[in-house]
C-alpha cells in the first residue's frame, strides 16, 4: 500500500523542495546551496528508483501497466537525463523547466491511477516492456532537446535585448546548448527508432503476422516521423541555429502530445 500512497507523497515533497531550492538559486546565486541542491537531486533520483523497483517487484512488471505508471516512469527518465547532463555542466536555469515537468507528470500519474488491476494483457509481456521503456527514454531525450532549444531562444532574447539580467549570466553558452540539443535529438531518435522496430517485430511475432491489434500505430508512426524530421534537420543543418532551436521546441511539444495520445490510446482506446 505504501508504494501507492507514501512513496508518491515523498517524491512530491522532494521535488517540491528541489523546485524551491532552484528558484531561490535563480534569485540568489549560492554555490553551497547549489551543491546541496545537486546532492538532493541525486538522492531524489535514488528514492525514485527505489520506489519504481518496489513497484516493479510488486506487480512483476516495470511501471507500464497504467497510464499513471507510465507518466511517473517518464518523469523518472526525464529527471535522470537532467542529472546526467548537469554533471557535465552548470545549467542552473535549465533545471527549473524539467523539475516543473516532473512534478506535473507525478501529479498526472497519481491522478491517472497507479494501481494495475485491469491492465491490458499484452502489457505484461517482456516485448511491451522493451518497447515502452525505449519509447519513454527516447521521449525523455527529445524533451531534453526541447529544453535546450528553449534555453537557446531565451539566451538569444537576452543577448538581443541587451538586458544582461540573471538569465544572461545563468544560462549555459549558446554553443553548449546547441551541442546538448543535437546529442539529445540523435539519441532520442535512435531510441524511438529501436522502440518502433521492436514494436513491429512484437506485432508480427506475437500475432503470426497479423498487425490487427496495434492500437496506437498512427500516433507512434507520427512520433517517429517527427523525431526523424528533427534529426535530419539537425544533421544536415537545414536551418540556422535559432530556427533549428524553434523547430526543436515545436517538435518536442508535438512529440510529447503524441506520446500522451499513444498512452491514452493504449489504455482508453478500446482495442488494445
Amino acid at each position: 500500500m505504501l508504494t501507492y500512497t507514501l512513496f508518491p507523497a515523498i517524491m512530491l515533497l522532494f521535488f517540491g523542495g528541489l523546485l524551491a531550492m532552484w528558484v531561490t538559486l535563480y534569485h540568489k546565486p549560492d554555490e553551497l546551496l547549489e551543491r546541496i541542491a545537486d546532492r538532493v537531486g541525486w538522492t531524489t533520483l535514488a528514492l525514485f528508483a527505489v520506489w519504481l523497483s518496489i513497484l516493479t517487484y510488486d506487480q512483476r512488471q516495470i511501471p507500464i501497466l497504467t497510464a499513471g505508471q507510465i507518466s511517473v516512469f517518464l518523469g523518472f527518465l526525464i529527471w535522470m537525463d537532467q542529472l546526467l547532463v548537469q554533471r557535465k555542466m552548470s545549467q542552473r536555469m535549465l533545471v527549473i523547466l524539467p523539475l516543473v515537468t516532473v512534478i506535473l507528470l507525478l501529479l498526472a500519474g497519481i491522478a491517472g491511477g497507479l494501481h494495475h488491476k485491469s491492465a491490458p494483457d499484452e502489457l505484461h509481456s517482456a516485448w511491451s516492456a522493451v518497447h515502452i521503456v525505449l519509447s519513454m527514454a527516447g521521449v525523455a531525450m527529445l524533451f531534453g532537446s526541447g529544453v535546450y532549444g528553449a534555453g537557446s531562444m531565451l539566451l538569444r532574447r537576452e543577448l538581443m535585448s541587451r538586458k544582461f539580467g540573471r538569465l544572461f549570466s545563468s544560462l549555459p553558452s549558446m554553443d553548449e546548448m546547441h551541442k546538448l540539443r543535437a546529442f539529445a535529438i540523435y539519441f532520442g531518435w535512435l531510441l524511438i527508432t529501436i522502440s518502433f522496430a521492436s514494436a513491429v517485430a512484437f506485432m508480427f511475432l506475437e500475432n503470426s503476422g497479423t498487425p490487427s491489434f496495434f492500437s496506437h500505430l498512427h500516433e507512434m508512426f507520427g512520433l517517429w516521423g517527427a523525431a526523424s524530421l528533427l534529426a535530419l534537420s539537425e544533421r544536415f543543418r537545414w536551418l540556422g541555429d535559432q530556427k533549428q532551436a524553434r523547430l526543436t521546441v515545436a517538435m518536442s511539444t508535438v512529440i510529447f502530445l503524441l506520446i500522451t495520445g499513444s498512452v491514452l490510446q493504449i489504455f482508453f482506446g478500446g482495442q488494445s
Partner: protein, 432 residues
C-alpha cells in the same frame, strides 16, 4: 580582545602616499622580525598591495593611538604626520575590517579576487617567519575562509567590470570553447591588442588580422600566431570568422553589409561582432540577421553597469556573511581566552588521577589495571567537562572570568610564575 590594525587605502590616501607606503617583498621579513621584537607585540602581519598598506598586530597590552600611529609611520618609513591619515581599528572592528578586505568589500573594484590571494600571501609570509601569534593565526585563517565563503555563496565576483572584459564575457555566452572558434581582428591598435590578449587568455588561438597598415597587422599576427588578411576584410573572411573584433579609428563603417554580406550566404552557425570602435566599424545592417549578434561600446558599458549593480546588490549579502564570521570569531575568542586555565585544570587533574591509580594499583590484580585506568579516566573526564562547560558558559554569556580565576588558583601547581601569567592575562581581559 587583543587585536589592533592600522593602515591606509585608496579611500584615505593619495596615490603618492600609497606609493611611499608600499613595502617590497624583500624588506617585508626584516620589518616583521623587527616588529615582533617589540616588547609589547606578540604577533604581526603586514598587508601591502597597490591600494593598501595595513599592519595587523596582537599586542600584549593595547597601544595608545598616538603610539600606534608613530609605530606605523616608522614601519612604513613615512613622515610622522602621514601616520595621522591612517585608520585604526581595534578588536572586533579590526576583525571585521580584515574580513571585509578579504571578501573584496573594501576593494576599489567591489568583489575583486586578487585581494584574497594577497591576504593569503601576507599571512603565509608572517607565518613562515614565525611572526604570528595564536590570535593572528585564527584571524587570518578565518579571514581567508570568509573571503572564500563570500565568493562562493554570493555572486559578488561575477561579471566583467571593464569594457574589454565585457566583450569577452559576451563572446563566452555564445561560445563555450573559444579555442575552437575563428577570430578576425580588424585594426591592430592598443584596443585590439588588449582584446586579443583577453581572448587568448580565454583560450582563443585561430586568428586573422586585417589592418590598414600591413606592417602593423603582420606584427600583431606574429605576436598571436595568426595570419594577415586584406583590409577591409572581405566576404571570405566573414564566412570564415565566428567572432569579429573591430577597433579602428575609421570615421565610417569598415565592415559593410554591401561588401561582406555574401559571406553570410548559407551560413548556419552564429556570428558575433564585437565593435570596440567609436565611431562604429560594423555596419548596423548585420544586426538584422537571425544568427548574427552585433555589440558596440554602448552595449559593453551597459553590461559593465549591470554587473556593477549586481555586485552592489550581492554586497549586502556579503556583509551579512562577514557579520556572521565576525560573530563566530568573537565567540571563539571569548572561549579561547580561558584556554590556559582549562589546560592547567586538565594537567592538574590528570596528575592526581595518574598518581592515585599508581598508588592503588597494588590492591588490584594486574589484569584489572586496564579497567581501573578506563574507569578513572572516564570519571575524571566527566568532572573536568562539567567544570570546563561552566567556565566557558560564564566566560561567553556573562563575560565572567571569576570562575576561570578561581579554578586557576584552586588547581595551582608549583610553577607560581605560570599561574601569575595566566592570572595577569585574565585580569587584562577583564579590564577590556
Amino acid at each position: 580582545m587583543k587585536l589592533e590594525m592600522i593602515g591606509l587605502n585608496h579611500r584615505t590616501a593619495t596615490l603618492s602616499l600609497r606609493e611611499r607606503a608600499a613595502i617590497s617583498p624583500d624588506t617585508l621579513p626584516t620589518l616583521l622580525e623587527r616588529l615582533v621584537r617589540h616588547p609589547n607585540i606578540e604577533g604581526a602581519a603586514i598587508l601591502s598591495t597597490c591600494n593598501r598598506a595595513e599592519l595587523y598586530l596582537s599586542p600584549t597590552f593595547h597601544f595608545e593611538e598616538s603610539e600606534l600611529r608613530a609605530l606605523y609611520a616608522e614601519v612604513f618609513e613615512l613622515q610622522p604626520e602621514d601616520g595621522d591619515v591612517a585608520y585604526v581599528y581595534r578588536d572586533a572592528n579590526a576583525v571585521k575590517h580584515l574580513f571585509r578586505v578579504a571578501s573584496g568589500l573594501d576593494s576599489q573594484m567591489l568583489g575583486e579576487i586578487q585581494i584574497l590571494v594577497q591576504v593569503k600571501n601576507a599571512y603565509n609570509t608572517a607565518l613562515e617567519l614565525a611572526c604570528t601569534s595564536g590570535i593572528l593565526n585564527k584571524l587570518f585563517t578565518q579571514a581567508i575562509f570568509c573571503g572564500k565563503q563570500v565568493r562562493t555563496r554570493t555572486a559578488i565576483s561575477q561579471g566583467a567590470v571593464s569594457v574589454a572584459y565585457a566583450a569577452i564575457e559576451i563572446a563566452q555566452r555564445l561560445y563555450n570553447k573559444l579555442g575552437e572558434k575563428n577570430i578576425l581582428l580588424v585594426g591592430a591598435g592598443e584596443t585590439t591588442k588588449l582584446a586579443s590578449k583577453y581572448l587568448a587568455d580565454a583560450g582563443a588561438c585561430n586568428w586573422r588580422v586585417s589592418n590598414r597598415t600591413t606592417a602593423h597587422a603582420a606584427e600583431l599576427a606574429e605576436q598571436i600566431g595568426g595570419e594577415i588578411t586584406s583590409f577591409p576584410p572581405n566576404s571570405e573572411d566573414i564566412a570564415w570568422a565566428d567572432i569579429v573584433v573591430s577597433a579602428t579609428s575609421s570615421p565610417s563603417a569598415i565592415v559593410k553589409m554591401s561588401e561582406c554580406g555574401a559571406g553570410l550566404k548559407g551560413r548556419k552557425r552564429p556570428l558575433l561582432f564585437l565593435d570596440l570602435a567609436v565611431p562604429r566599424d560594423i555596419d548596423s545592417a548585420f544586426a538584422e540577421r537571425d544568427d548574427v549578434y552585433v555589440y558596440t561600446v554602448d552595449d559593453f558599458q551597459e553590461l559593465v553597469a549591470a554587473n556593477i549593480k549586481s555586485r552592489q546588490k550581492e554586497a549586502v549579502r556579503a556583509e551579512e556573511l562577514v557579520e556572521k564570521e565576525v560573530h563566530i570569531f568573537s565567540e571563539w575568542y571569548r572561549e579561547n581566552r580561558i584556554a590556559p586555565s582549562i589546560q592547567q585544570l586538565q594537567v592538574a587533574l590528570e596528575t592526581i588521577r595518574a598518581s592515585e591509580v599508581e598508588q592503588q594499583a597494588r590492591h588490584f590484580r594486574p589484569e584489572d589495571r586496564e579497567e581501573i585506568e578506563k574507569f578513572s579516566r572516564s570519571m575524571m573526564k566527566k568532572v573536568t567537562s562539567m567544570i570546563i562547560a561552566n567556565m566557558r558558559r560564564a566566560a561567553a554569556d556573562g563575560n565572567d572570568l571569576t570562575l576561570a580565576r578561581a579554578v586557576t588558583v584552586a588547581f595551582a601547581g608549583k610553577d607560581q610564575h605560570a599561574i601569575d601569567e595566566i592570572l595577569e592575562k585574565l585580569n587584562h581581559e577583564l579590564s577590556h
